[in-house]
Symmetry: C2
Subunit: 254 residues, 2 copies
């Protein structure tokens, strides 16, 4: 079976309190998707964060002395830097325009994943930014369980964001939360074509799927934050974000 | 149009001198693919390297003093380390079992991309390993031009490998060479849903596609090193590997 990724059209603008399982279920029929066991929905972080009320008005943020200092060093908005510090466990690198942190969720990323784009803002009400979901694995699980309950199908749900890489230009989609999908597939011990044992291959299948979904989602004005996936080539499983995060003691580059 | 990725079945075992354009063209009909403008073929590095005769018999390799020293420090085969040094411009990190280099092609990767698995070897003839193609952009261009000439269709060709990441477990497919495909899509200056200008988004679309193709290719004994892609959501373009490599002077983590 081929791997097929379809960006669902006509997903409405998401507001705090919206039920994303319902949003998905309402959108699949107009998109001619007939749900099957093994299908996966990939959601942009942005819609999950919006539904969970993770918008913050910068006007309400009081920068700490440390945020003021780091904002000066990086030429960034001190209120935004304050939020980055609150969302992080460690500042890993900084330079003008960029702060790389270990996010409280465990991964290394720029600007603590805080997002300006596609967030309603400006005008009289202030300038809003969007924090990442508090527990994206749990968010994915809740959506998965609700969709499964209402359809009787066994599915997977993944939440993705776009990250830069240390040594390559361009952002790629990566998994920040998942439910019902394996995070890694460990091929160590499998035989290759010549019967040699593979010794070092653990495949980041969740991140590979995240990149694929990101490609069809687009970044800017497309407004297609949900992707339907059919033909994921591994059995559904029970991955967690924690499995994907390299433990700090194995980090060669921090 | 959805993004559809199909691993072509029945790709024969590739030997030095094989014409990969012919291999692809012979395989598409049995796989029920009718080529269209805008289609892309993604090839595993392994088959390109094999066709180009990049197999090396470790019995023929004489380790230098530096290779012997690094092999001792990392507990690796000194002949393999010698090849890694020959393929690299710089050793970036090493520890027991792993050497991270800047490959001569420009990217940072483990073990200089030298591959043991799925390489015919062992027995009386020695132990063979496979180096990366010498100029993967050029390899991709030659395959693309031949397929285009024989079919009259405008297509893209990409060569991928699997890389580890600095802070995440599991390998993901990444692009090491491309022709007829954009490497990056620069969305800076585009408007988001609310008319705000996106300021920092350059998307690594080639790497996102590489990850997607890697997912359907599998790693071990599947033997599906060529993937047909339909529905790539950007116009075909003229990307190069060089665009994807972050210049050393912008590297925050070396």
């Amino acid at each position: 079976m081929p791997l097929t990724l379809t960006a669902l059209k006509n997903i409405p603008f998401i507001r705090q309190g919206d039920n994303l399982a319902d949003v998905i279920l309402h959108s699949i029929e107009p998109n001619d998707v007939k749900l099957q066991d093994g299908d996966i929905f990939v959601l942009a972080q942005k819609v999950v964060s919006k539904a969970e009320g993770r918008m913050v008005n910068l006007a309400d943020v009081e920068p700490s002395p440390r945020a003021l200092e780091l904002a000066g060093q990086t030429e960034k908005d001190a209120r935004l830097v304050e939020l980055m510090l609150q969302e992080s466990s460690e500042v890993v690198r900084f330079r003008k325009g960029v702060i790389v942190v270990e996010h409280k969720l465990g991964f290394i990323c720029a600007n603590a994943g805080i997002d300006h784009s596609n967030v309603m803002g400006g005008g009289e009400n202030g300038e809003f930014v969007l924090l990442l979901p508090k527990d994206p694995d749990e968010s994915a699980k809740q959506i998965r369980e609700q969709v499964e309950e209402k359809t009787g199908k066994q599915i997977g749900v993944m939440i993705i964001d776009s990250h830069g890489r240390a040594w390559r230009n361009g952002t790629v989609g990566i998994c920040i939360g998942l439910s019902g999908i394996p995070a890694l597939v460990d091929e160590r011990g499998w035989q290759d074509l010549f019967g040699c044992t593979l010794i070092a291959t653990v495949v980041g299948v969740a991140d590979e799927l995240a990149a694929a979904a990101s490609l069809v989602m687009g970044q800017a004005a497309e407004g297609t934050p949900v992707v339907h996936v059919r033909g994921f080539p591994y059995p559904l499983g029970n991955g967690t974000l924690k499995e994907i995060i390299r433990p700090k003691e194995q980090d060669m580059f921090r």
